[in-house]
């Protein structure tokens, strides 16, 4: 029968009388776990930010009509020339419309698919911004603004104004930051734009958009889909692009192939568009875990060392305990509980210190052009990491305590008492 009260009492006395070793061992765990929490929170925070940078701005699947030459030139259909070698020079792209055929039914179909988080229509139009006598070439994209906010955190890229303002202003425009600077315009001002056909429309600036990429910010602006359709003089079903977000990124490649066949339009998935994205993110994660595990193993060795020393010092005590009727298992439990007490105290302190450090990093200013809404370093406070931290503290102290305590269990009291 195990008498926990006595065993824990002895363990407590040992720990308290050897305060210095206890504190050293606990601090080893504390620093290991603290560093792990800090590092993993910070690294995954940064990782997530970098991933979002790409993921937010890139749809998982992008549907559009590509202007391209026909795969089969008319001569290939001519039966009499079937066995001949046909050479066609100066091929021109096929005459086709820019808009996606049957865009609205496709949107409806996509939105009913359970894998799809959302599908947003876009209309890209070439326009000119008119500033006095100067015309600046650029793009105006008509979007469903609230859907973009939901699917791609569009509002994170607004440095002034708001998405709601565009939603509520029929002739509003979100002007690119570079454009706003070039034309010395700000929120509330009006900007005149001209279509390729030459029609001029005044639009009210309700927000400034900054993607962080100067080339985009110098030409790109956004307006409501309907507004752009009106400017272009097109009907409500005139949509040039459909951006799809899925619940599961991994399904993008397969689904884009199906959509391409099903609707006869061009579909690109995110991995095609950003092949390097996943590699970078995987390598960063691997580094994070490699460093964390190293830290935790170092902490484990610290505990192992200190317990080992403690057991050497306590050989005589172990012999007395055994002589007075404590079994080997009791003695092992005494030292195991010391290791676990160190693990629990050190581990929880480590979590607290890790949390405090994370808070500290969270306060450090970090400004980047790419993400205008971020002002401090990103930190990920996912509880899962704290769970992993404390579990590892317990597991590593358990192993570090098990080996020396197992030796204590096997100590032969007769040898110690007789001094041989």
């Amino acid at each position: 029968m195990t008498n926990w009260k006595v065993i824990l009492g002895i363990a407590k006395t040992h720990l308290l009388t050897k305060m210095k070793s206890t504190v050293t061992a606990s601090l080893g765990v504390t620093f290991g776990i603290g560093a792990y929490i800090t590092l993993v929170s910070f690294m995954t925070g940064l990782n997530k930010m970098l991933d979002d940078l790409i993921l937010n701005q890139t749809p998982h699947i992008h549907l559009y009509n590509e202007i391209e030459p026909s795969e089969k030139q008319p001569v290939a259909l001519y039966e009499e020339m079937q066995d001949a070698v046909n050479v066609v020079r100066s091929i021109k792209p096929k005459q086709s419309q820019l808009k996606i055929h049957n865009a609205l039914p496709i949107l409806n179909h996509l939105r009913n698919n359970p894998d799809v988080k959302g599908a947003s229509p876009q209309l890209r139009a070439q326009i000119f911004y008119i500033s006095g006598s100067i015309e600046l070439g650029g793009n105006l994209t008509g979007i469903d603004i609230m859907e973009e906010v939901r699917l791609s955190s569009f509002d994170d890229y607004l440095i002034a104004g708001s998405a709601e303002a565009l939603e509520n202003t029929d002739n509003g425009i979100l002007l690119g930051a570079g454009l706003a600077e070039t034309m010395s315009l700000d929120i509330g001002d009006r900007v005149q734009i001209s279509t390729i056909k030459g029609d001029i429309f005044p639009l009210k600036i309700v927000g400034i958009y900054q993607s962080g990429i100067a080339d985009i910010d110098n030409i790109q602006s956004y307006a409501n889909l309907k507004t752009v359709q009106r400017i272009e003089g097109e009907a409500e079903n005139f949509i040039t692009d459909i951006n799809i977000k899925l619940h599961d990124l991994e399904k993008a490649a397969a689904m884009s192939k199906i959509l391409e066949k099903q609707f006869g339009i061009k579909a690109t998935d995110i991995k095609e568009a950003n092949a390097q994205f996943e590699t970078g993110s995987n390598i960063r994660n691997t580094i994070t875990y490699a460093v964390s595990i190293t830290l935790l193993i170092v902490a484990g060795f610290g505990i192992y060392n200190i317990l080992n020393m403690l057991i050497y010092e306590k050989m005589k005590d172990i012999a007395i305990l055994k002589a007075t009727g404590f079994s080997g298992k009791d003695v092992q439990l005494i030292f195991m509980s010391q290791a676990l007490i160190i693990g629990v105290i050190g581990g929880f302190l480590g979590l607290i210190i890790g949390f405090l450090f994370s808070r500290l990093i969270d306060q450090v200013p970090f400004e980047t052009e790419a993400l205008p809404t971020i002002t401090t370093f990103p930190v990920n406070y996912q509880p899962g990491y704290y769970l992993i931290g404390i579990s590892f503290a317990l597991i590593s102290t358990f192993i570090a305590g098990y080996l020396p305590s197992n030796r204590a269990r096997k100590v032969d009291p007769v040898q110690i008492i007789r001094g041989t």
């Binding site: 006595v6 040992h14 007075t324 009727g325 079994s327 009291p413 007769v414 008492i417």
Partner: protein, 231 residues
Amino acid sequence: MKKVLQTVDINKHFRKPVDFHVLKNISFEVKKGEFASIMGKSGSGKSTLLYILSTMDTDYEGKLYLNEELVTGKPHQELSRLRNKHIGFVFQFHYLLSEFSVLENVMLPARKLAARSDAEIEHDAMEKLEMLNIAKLANKRASRISGGEKQRVAIARALINNPSILMGDEPTGNLDSYNAENVFQIFKRLKEEQGLSLLVVTHDHDFAERTDRIIEMEDGRISGNLTDSAR
């Protein structure tokens, strides 16, 4: 009369560094209420025998009975329990746990046994300390008391579970004559007042002479087994 301890043909070998036959066909018994001593030269195997009797050493051939119950071959866990309940042990070098107080040292085996409540154990421990005239030391750290006092604390600890037999490995070997006499008187009183059985390994002739029975050992054999009356 009831036998507290009995051995039948106990043999032991030390296998390292070379095979050495330490104990040869040891058979004897200790009766209830008997105060026996084991004497012999260094290397005669008397301490080795004592550790086998204490159940701590299990590497031997032959049979060992405690309270007329065979203990040879029992698992370690069970032996620990028997040792805890039935055997009190006093060493040459006091061997107290230095981080604990005197009282805690005395209480420890009883707490392990957990047959009584903590309050009862503490009461019993104080009683034992008082009997040995060291009650005033109860709350001192075990590392802060003198050698003679330590040995008396060790005796109190050995008695806390009211064992069937008290074993001593040269309990007076490390004490001056005053303290040695003191320990002997304590043993004698325990035997007379409480009917405790005692088995003590000693070098000290004067000490042995005054016990009920001297078991003499030579080269791993019992060479003489003299009761008081035969001397």
